[in-house]
Structures are given as C-alpha cells and as structure tokens.
Symmetry: C2
Subunit: 124 residues, 2 copies
DNA sequence: TTCGTTTATCGTCGAATAACGATAATAAAA
DNA sequence: TTTTATTATCGTTATTCGACGATAAACGAA
C-alpha cells in the first residue's frame, strides 16, 4: 500500500463538513481544553438543547473526529487526531505552495497577466 | 493588537463550510496544481454546469479562500492562504495536543476511567 | 453598434440541515 | 423490580444547500 493515497475530494469535504458548524467547533475546543473526559457538560457549555448537542456529537462521531467511550451513565468523549490528518495535509500543501509561489499577500499561483496564456478556451 | 486573537467559532466554521463540498475541494486542488490562472477551465474539470461552478466559486470567494482577478473576458482565480490560517491553527493545536497527550491511536485527552471524575453532574 | 466570449445572477425544485420537545434506551443503584 | 441519571432517537418544522437552465452583464473585437 502506498503511503500517499490521496484522500478523495468527498473524504476531505466530509471532514470539513463535520467542522462546518460553530457548535461543533466549540465542542472540539472544549475537548481540547479539558484533560478529563466530559459527558453532558458539553450540553451546558454549548447552550443548545440536549438533543441538539447529541446530534452534533453524532455528526462528529460519524466523521471520526470524536470518539465516545461509555462510562457509567455518561459518555467520555475524546478527539481523534487521525481523522483530521487528511484535511491538515491539504491545508499544509496549500501553505507550502503559497509560501513558495505567492507574494506577500498570501495569494497563490497566478496574478501575473502573462501567466494567463490560455488560448481562448478549447471548445468541446 | 495581540497576535493571538482567537477566531470565533463562527469564523472557523465558516472556513470549514467553504471547504465542505467535493466540488470546492476539487477547485482548490485544481488551483494548487496549476501555475497559470485558469478561468472557465475549472468548469470543464469539475464537470458540473457553468452556473453551478460559478456558485461554488462565489462561495469560495465569499469565504476569502480564492480571489478572482478579472482578465480580458475571463477571470484568473488564485488561492488565498491567509484565509485558511485560522483553521490550520486549530488543527495544529489538535495535533500538538494529541501527540502530547494521546496514545498510539490518536485519541486525545481522556479514556482512562479514573480521569472521569465528574461528581455526578451539577444540576442547574 | 453589433457580435462573441466568458462569467455572474435569477428562479426553481428537491434534498439536506439544524433545532426543538418528547420519548426511548441503557445500566448502575436502591 | 423500580428508580435515577445520562444519552440517543424520533417526529416535526423552518431554513439552507446544491443543481440546473435561462438570462443578464461585461467588454474587447469586428
């Protein structure tokens, strides 16, 4: 197996989608800040209904971003770094390319008129 | 101004949301792979209707992820690294925390039963 | 001015999302 | 078995998203 099997666009989008809600970002930050596992404390911190938070946790779990370990009546949630690595790789690639090619404004790739040397668009 | 003004959950979620679609990931990868700016070539590569691709580009532009420079009849698109930095920072923080605290499975923070020392949940 | 090329916007439709309250499920404790 | 505490699921509703075709806008070229 090659170590460089690029994740699909769908996989990367799915990871991003799991992060694409303020409540879920907040949950991730909560899990980062705590060293002990927290169950329903998340619900109180987030300030949404318990069922809503549970749904956000379900989405994060489905994407593999968090894992839930059942403790007595509650659940210990934890972050799973591995699930985020593909997205990190893509962003790192953007960063590397941008700092290599780009100007001081962080723009990457083009922006010199003569680099726009497309004929006129090939018609299909 | 402090160099550490954390972006809000909303800001981070907005960046992630811009990346949360396969077509938009594909566009980003396209812009990464090309050294010259490409206009409607994106439309052909993505394989969706022109109006749909234009909408995805609009979303990426609105999030600041890409910039569009108008060339004669077409538009030169480029990536904007800066817009992605906040999300990169969060992911990097997860990575740092996880590799410091976590076990070999990439899980972060809890998972030892005795670390679950919440009393029983404070009732509100 | 008119034409041709490229991109943006509009209107529509079906599908997905987010939020909630109510309720079910789980399992230790009484 | 019954109770208690926590989390998950269900059903509903309003909103947003994704895709498309049609059309408008921009602007150099003829």
């Amino acid at each position: 197996m090659s170590p460089e099997n690029d994740p699909s666009n769908e996989q990367l989008a799915a990871i991003a989608k799991a992060l694409a809600h303020p409540a879920r970002i907040q949950i991730i930050r909560l899990l980062l800040s705590k060293t002990s596992c927290i169950g329903g404390e998340i619900t109180h911190e987030v300030g949404l209904a318990q069922s809503t938070v549970s749904e956000h946790l379900r989405i994060l779990k489905a994407a593999g971003v968090v894992a839930g370990e059942i403790e007595h009546p509650r659940v210990c949630y934890s972050l799973n770094l591995n699930s985020l690595l593909p997205l990190m790789s893509l962003l790192q690639l953007v960063a590397d390319t941008a700092t290599t090619v780009a100007g001081s404004d962080g723009l990457c790739c083009p922006l010199t008129p003569q680099s726009c040397d497309l004929p006129s668009r090939d018609r299909e």
